[in-house]
Symmetry: C2
Subunit: 236 residues, 2 copies
DNA sequence: CAGTGGTCTAGACCACCGA
DNA sequence: CGGTGGTCTAGACCACTGG
């Protein structure tokens, strides 16, 4: 395949992965020690260490200090789910993105929302609601609450030109985020603005982002099930 | 927090991450060169290199050989979505897992299925259908097709004692997998065995696993939306 | 105790980039 | 060209594991 020889540590990684793929080494089996691999490949220990360490990070093997290295129990498939700015995602598909802004306002947080944003009940929060279109077709309803402490000028942003996600990433450095994905029916309003039936199943993502010590934002993102799916890939 | 001093490379990583979190270095800004960081921390270049290289792997910074290192544009939140064996997942929550096996059989693949499994139309494939319960509540309908070449004795397995996922991981080393997640309504049969309404939205995961050069299995996994969600977390 | 992995050093050579 | 990161070496000390 490759004309240029692979780096030594990649060769060591490839060898180990091949042994696993072919079933020569099975989950739970021990992997040769760094000293042994060092001999076998005629490279320094740092190089072998890098190879095996990267495999450990990837979850292919498990290492225990003082004990040794073993093939991981692959009883889980972990893959990276990319949650991206909807604008960039649509452009990357070669389509056009447009949006309709339904609401941009300041409101008082009720108890539940205040708890989510780690504010006191009744505190002022920013609220934006909009629909995103891919080539004119509605694919996302975005209902978002923002902590004014994280983005004081949020209400002044022009969300026809920049997405809330993009705006927040620019103004409040992202340090942490958590999300959940579930299936649900849209509300009457959501179904209406998305142009779908109220009985059409949707993917609903709830996402909370944290900037420093503050909760910066909480968003409810509704994707019509027939028009959108998450996908991912796992290797080795 | 930690009484024991952090490894040097972790200190370097923590320093860089802190500069980014606090907004001192913004996306696109350049990060000091390895030589500069080496001076600043009084460590060897290998140590600095490890720190910055790991940040690059984590997606926090981007590096260009010959040019330099810059803070990554964090206009994406990428997080690891763990797809795990349902049995282990339920046990880990401290609940009990049980299953009802509805079907275990050999069938002829139609054109679409044959294509998915990279077999010829009409080829024999194994088929299993079952429902999984968490503390007696149905949370997953599993409809799976298996390539006989990857697991010749699949039909002999006792799926009341081991899950298909677990069985396949034991008998066909996993090398690759791809999946998609969407929202959909269950079929009449699925709704019936899950004990939900046919109009109740569900998360549907379609997953294809590859072992070596063969497609080992294709599964359609239906999770009632009101009883199950995927969740994840992102940091930095 | 001997074996293992975790970390670290002080060099080195190379390919690449931008001026 | 000088500065950058990518890779590699041949040592080293340590903490931990197991018998």
């Amino acid at each position: 395949m490759t004309q240029i020889p692979l780096p030594a540590y990649e060769q060591v990684k490839a060898f180990i992965k091949a042994q696993i793929s072919r079933g020569v080494w099975r989950p739970g089996d021990s992997v040769p020690s760094e000293a042994a691999l060092q001999q076998q490949f005629g490279v320094s220990r740092m190089t072998v260490n890098r190879a095996v360490k990267e495999l450990a990070v990837e979850g292919v093997v498990t290492r225990v200090k003082g004990s040794g290295t073993a093939v991981a129990q692959l009883h889980r498939i972990s893959s990276t789910l990319a949650v991206r700015d909807i604008h960039e995602e649509i452009l990357e598909r070669g389509h056009t993105h447009s949006t309709t802004v339904l609401r941009v306002e300041a409101v008082q947080a009720d108890a539940a929302l205040a708890h989510t944003l780690k504010l006191r009940a009744g505190a002022k929060v920013f609220h934006s609601v909009q629909v995103h279109f891919e080539d004119g077709l509605a694919i996302l309803f975005e209902d978002r609450y923002v902590n004014p402490a994280s983005a004081p000028n949020y209400l002044d942003a022009d969300f026809t030109k920049t997405t809330p996600t993009h705006y927040l990433l620019e103004h409040a450095p992202l340090t942490e985020a958590s999300y959940s994905i579930e299936a649900a029916l849209p509300s009457a309003q959501e179904a209406n603005v998305l142009g779908i039936s109220p009985s059409a199943p949707c993917l609903v993502m709830k996402r909370r982002t944290i900037s420093g010590t503050q909760v910066a934002s909480f968003a409810r993102l509704v994707y019509p099930g027939v028009r959108y799916s998450f996908s991912g890939n796992f290797q080795l």
